[in-house]
Symmetry: C2
Subunit: 316 residues, 2 copies
């Protein structure tokens, strides 16, 4: 994310905060992933461990972990009690990228500037690495989040967001909208409402879950939980609009993936419905809605406010 | 499973119990799976719901759910408090079959006597249906198992059994042993010990988890939990040996899948190491170990005892 010129002092603070959080997330992720041991009796085959580490530790903005940690801290948590939940979100996000990149799905060779998992290894290994990461996410939450009631709440939030009515359902609807798999009677109309219904599930649900899990770990009040949920919904859509804009105007070196792919595939995107300027305006409006939603949190919501605005300016 | 002539009275009781449990599991599974609704705003796309229902409700012995329910009842649970955990186990088992059947993995067209998921739908849909089932398993446990402490314990048992050090790791090691994916330095020796190390993870871990989740739901004593764990370990291996024998001698009509595939693929199997008779003896010995492990449960272990012996005679 780049800083916005008019908010230098505040965004510098945000930048340092982001850097520190990303470092903590990186270290925690590495500690939760299986080690690469070339021991036939070792429970996790070395190749599987390598594939998981390749994909998870291969860079990335760590947006979902950052949102989760920020949400917990905005609700009064201190220290780093949200780190396991934050890592679980990144594992689920990474598994979805591994599976989406498969030849039978989006068929992408490049991810985060490196070969996607099935290119670096092979398809079978990539399928299994994704499966293992999804499973590990729930294991880490159940084992590490305290108290148990917060852990259970996190499992439920994560599963609902990631499953058939959330992220996986959104990917399915997206494939259908592109005509890459059949529909079973369900209409997949090319309208803005249909586009938003896909994104609400495909990317929005997990971003919202990041806020919800942060609130759960902090055992937040209902008022704070709802404020964060409204923030998450608005930020999730804004994030997707910027994603669509980056596919039109982004720099592939910074993005670490190809651009222009959406229009090649005839994908429904925000720029296609609203134009470039219209999409930018809609993203800004959503970011402002997100900021407004934080009002009940008071000064503790400062980093989340900064992040919502910084997302508008991101270049990767 | 067929009845053994010498144990008619007892096995009849077991047969009726199995039938009743299977019916309960079937109804509960159907209630947890997303409905097929042709509504574009519906959260779960109709095609995804169809694929999930096709694979889960397409028959199967329901061995893991049955073991889970039996374990809970053997520890004193009454009513059906283990049903959500039992269904979660079947969802995880089914997802693993869907992914294992994919062309990049075992490339099987037939499963439970019907087209496998990617044949009935397509590869992308099958990958997503598997992902959604794995996720739904954790959702159902977190939402339905009571009390919360038992739910959390079940999430952890299930995730540990299903993940990189359990089922997924076993499938990876199996692909490596068949030379279908590379190794990364780890030796994959063709020894009986190496074969058992694969099965302990690939099929054994989830069978053991079925017993552990049943014990967790029943809030069983440590003594009962350990007895069930020893039972599960022995039954898991016995089950796999019978599976290998069925691939040599089974009836494809009853099995609902091809036979002779293991030797075509040059797979390491029990008959290859121990011969047909030696494999039978080993399976019986393990079933007897399983029965002996149940001693602390007293008469409540009767169905589990009957099941361990009936598994030796199964023809599908």
């Amino acid at each position: 994310m780049t800083s916005s010129g008019t908010r230098t002092a505040e965004v510098l603070g945000l930048g340092a905060y982001l850097e520190r959080t990303q470092e903590r997330v990186e270290a925690a992720l590495s500690s939760y992933l299986p080690e690469v041991e070339a021991d036939p009796a070792a429970a996790c085959p070395a190749r599987l461990a390598q594939a998981m580490r390749h994909s998870v530790l291969g860079g990335g903005k760590r947006l979902r972990p950052v949102l989760c940690v920020m949400a917990a801290e905005a609700c009064g948590s201190e220290g780093a009690p949200a780190l396991p939940a934050a890592c679980a979100l990144e594992m689920v996000h990474t598994y979805s990228l591994i599976h989406d990149d498969l030849p039978a799905m989006d068929d992408d060779d490049l991810r985060r500037g490196r070969p996607s998992c099935h290119k670096a290894f092979d398809e079978a290994t990539a399928i299994l690495a994704g499966d293992a990461l999804l499973t590990l996410a729930f294991e880490v939450v159940a084992r590490e989040v305290r108290p148990g009631s917060a852990a259970l709440r996190c499992v439920r939030i994560l599963a609902e967001a990631a499953g058939a009515t959330g992220m996986v359902g959104g990917q399915m609807a997206d494939l259908q909208a592109e005509g890459r798999t059949a529909t079973q009677g369900e209409p997949v109309a090319g309208t803005l409402a249909a586009l938003e219904a896909i994104h609400r599930r495909k990317t929005g649900a997990l971003l919202r879950a990041a806020l919800g899990m942060g609130a759960a770990v902090a055992e937040a009040t209902e008022l704070c939980t709802q404020a964060l949920d409204r923030y998450g919904t608005a930020v999730g859509l804004a994030f997707q609009i910027v994603d669509d804009l980056l596919d039109v105007q982004g720099d592939p070196t910074k993005l670490g993936k190809r651009v222009g792919k959406d229009s090649e595939l005839g994908k429904w995107t925000y720029p296609r419905f609203l134009g470039i300027d219209g999409s930018r305006r809609r993203a800004r409006q959503l970011a402002e809605e997100a900021v407004a939603a934080l009002e009940p949190l008071g000064p503790r919501g400062e980093y989340l406010r900064g992040l919502a605005l910084a997302l508008l300016e991101r270049d990767r």
